[in-house]
Symmetry: C2
Subunit: 491 residues, 2 copies
């Protein structure tokens, strides 16, 4: 089975698609640019969603649900936002079909059902949400308003790639309203921390926290914070964003509140989101040429148990023993799959669970049972070892933690190995050719940023937070700079 | 606060909307026919969703996600289904906006972005899912395929009512594929049982399981099973449906499998769904003139604790005592809200939690603390009692169970009191005028069904399962009948 996967070094992009295909994560649908998320892929997304949802609730947020459609006039209200998304909007113009006048069985949009005002399928929900907040916020007592939504959104993309860039995707979008700029900024940064912690502790993906340049900022935000991860081809992937919206949407939708001094003020806003794009980041961060590698915390199946049958009479004994192991692991909250299929060979099963990235595989044969031992195989390192059967509970539980750590550590080392401080444009171009992050001085202008992009396809991924200040000269113009920024080619 | 709610007897429809408004469940949005589900309403929906999701998984189903859009040609493929939904479809025709040629800041659908083929926003997903199943199913080994999806769907409605009938709503749709008709029918009936059990045990809504008449059947199904509930105005509400699709979609989308005898056969299908409509059923089944009444199993807050402050120095002592009670209740898995707001009076708080339907309210004053007692108030019966503080844990936990039972029992008694066996058309019309279910003989023809509907607005809600066979004469035509069916006016 794993032979079906194109090696990374041969064709990275094929490798990515092969893993999605053979691990059964997603596929293209009959609708251009839209994907079908298959059960195994969706189970991973559910794990991500549940963990994030818990974090949002722990930080005081509530879920709600806002309409899929945005009337065109609302969409237009925040000018930069409208401009930013206008070029990729699905537009609903009719609300009824009728029989085709001549072709039997065919339907056409009924011209009599033309909408007075077109509806935009939400590419993001600031407009419809801030228009609602107008009615929800009157006084400082109504603030802060801390709301999140899990939803589907649509951005019409011409060139799509499963999970990374699709016309429809699933995401969460937080939208909060505050009485002061300070509080809104604190929220923006808090959610960035939530995302970073989730990425590192749960997805085992090391991320760099930073600020976007003006050119890369969310349309309608005053400041965009992001987490950036490095994929195995050295490219960057933006894994989450948290926006300080200032009073832009409050002004566009006239959302004011009476402050404690009884004066009317515009509300301060934030928005923040992560999407099914994280599935792409997860796949490209850890997987190898044998298939998917999953950190235990998002693995729908953490342990698979495969009995190695020898002759009919071994079935009952092995199944019973495997079943007991499964029960004791499940008691610890570990998700276990018993692979009792009699129609498949152990080799077939091993390959299948390998390509699906199940972190630990246990195999039990008759000889093991006699010796009271069991074989434990790690998916990430492919190490195999045999341990006493009575130790299996504690061993597996520790090993899952170890794998989680180890996958993170490996990704971190990869990133460090592929991150380079560069001081000349020549060095910079070398890094961009071989792949990786370049830490370079930049003169702070959009002009330089765009020229570098044009010449090398590299963009400024972020101005890292918590980076040491260091004066230097822009690699492109030689003008003064006070901090290195991160350049990379990006997904 | 509760005075804001119109009494049921005065105006039932206003009563319903007042509860939604004052309990903070939902509101109309800027988009015609679409609602905003507010945090408290969404929290109730989340409880429903989580419980149902667990039941689906326990019966072997997996979640997946299919596209929001259906290309028109796919939509047309199953003729009856297409015909059934064509009149209420949102149609996407363009994928880009551009600046209005003359009005600054305005946008128009870019004529150059006209889609070659229109996309329908899914009103239900059989078409796009069966088109996908075609590639997933080759052999009997690929069956059964047991998949569920949580999603938003759009059916353009001219007359909308919050939760009950909205253009966009949230739901789950199960879509399964089987090797035999028997197995598909078993699945259809299994899911009907899952819905009925959920409605009765979790939502505390008694339901009647039955089969729809041909006229009320899902467009594209061979047989539709349903659960029907009675609202407090005596009207019926369809609370869930489970469809036996026969081979209709398999034929429309050419989904065949090689059976064990190596012969190609069409696959058998089912689909089943419940939606945010259940929120409407929940509200109308249990609430009273003081507001929402929630069964504990779907109450986002099961217990609210209100300290009755007297003077500044009481704050710390009462808060600490309340906090300890909350902690001990939370340990039992009970969701507790501590209402420490110093800006509101106890009376205001009592009214607020009453209208929001929190099942149990605990109130603690200084005198209680001295006496080591606490006041317990039930939302459903409005009974109040004072118990020893040390008993609070066990008492509250038992009371929650008792409330769950009692709410169900009350609804069941109401339904029984308002269900009538009728033997003449005169008796029938009397029941339809005062409201309630009529158990009546019917001659089995669509013609009679439609005439009765025209004259009385009553429809056949279902042909009940498990009903005793009894020969009789149709109330309308006098023709022979072998079983009474349930007539009612319906939401």
């Amino acid at each position: 089975m794993s032979k079906l996967i194109t090696p990374r070094n041969e064709n990275y992009s094929e490798w990515y698609l092969d893993i999605i295909k053979h691990a059964g994560l997603a596929e293209h649908s009959a609708v251009k640019g839209c994907m079908v998320i298959k059960p195994y892929g969706y189970a991973i997304w559910e794990k991500m969603r549940d963990d994030l949802d818990r974090r949002f609730k722990e930080t005081g947020h509530e879920n709600a649900y806002f309409p899929l459609f945005i009337p065109k006039s609302l969409f237009e209200a925040e000018e930069k936002n409208a401009e930013g998304f206008a070029k990729e909007c699905a537009v609903v113009t009719h609300y009824r079909l009728k029989n085709h006048p001549t072709e039997k069985g065919k339907l056409i949009a009924d011209p009599d059902s033309r909408l007075e005002e077109e509806l935009i399928v939400r590419p993001t929900s600031e407009a419809v949400i801030w228009n609602t907040y107008k009615n929800w916020i009157q006084s400082y007592r109504d603030l802060p308003l801390l709301i999140n939504q899990w939803a589907n959104v649509v951005r019409w993309e011409m060139r799509t790639r499963l999970f990374l860039r699709t016309a429809e995707f699933l995401w969460q979008e937080g939208h909060t309203a505050h009485a002061t700029a300070e509080e809104a900024m604190q929220e923006t940064r808090q959610m960035l921390e939530v995302y970073a912690d989730f990425a590192e502790k749960v997805l085992a993906i090391p991320v760099i926290k930073g600020i976007k340049t003006e050119n890369e900022r969310f349309a309608g935000a005053d400041e965009t914070f992001c987490i950036e991860a490095m994929m195995q081809d050295g490219k960057a992937l933006q894994a989450g964003t948290s926006h300080f919206l200032g009073q832009n949407f409050a002004k566009a939708f006239d959302v004011k509140f009476l402050n404690k001094e009884n004066k009317l003020e515009y509300v301060w806003g934030t928005s923040w989101g992560v999407s099914t794009r994280l599935m792409g980041a997860l796949i490209m961060s850890h997987s190898d040429d044998s298939g998917l590698v999953l950190p235990p915390k998002v693995a729908p199946i953490q342990v698979v148990i495969v009995p190695i049958y020898k002759g009919e009479e071994s079935f009952a004994r092995l199944n019973e023993a495997c079943d007991n192991i499964a029960k004791s692991l499940k008691k610890q909250g570990i998700s276990v799959k018993l692979d009792f299929r009699e129609t498949q060979t152990p080799g077939f099963k091993f390959a299948e669970w390998e390509v699906k990235g199940v972190p630990i595989r246990l195999a039990l044969g008759l000889r093991d049972l006699e010796n009271q031992t069991i074989e434990v195989a790690r998916r990430d390192t492919k190490n195999k070892t045999t341990i006493p059967l009575q130790d299996v509970e504690g061993y597996v539980s520790n090993l899952l933690e170890q794998i989680q750590q180890s996958i993170y550590q490996k990704a971190l080392e990869f990133r460090e190995k592929n991150t380079f401080e560069v001081n000349t444009y020549e060095e910079f171009k070398e890094v961009m050719e071989k792949g990786g992050f370049a830490l370079a001085h930049w003169d702070g202008t959009t002009e330089t940023e765009l020229k570098i992009k044009e010449e090398t396809k590299a963009t400024i991924r972020c101005i890292p937070l918590n980076a040491r200040k260091e004066t230097g000269k822009c690699i492109y113009t030689g003008k003064p700079s006070s901090q290195r920024v991160i350049f990379a080619q990006a997904y």
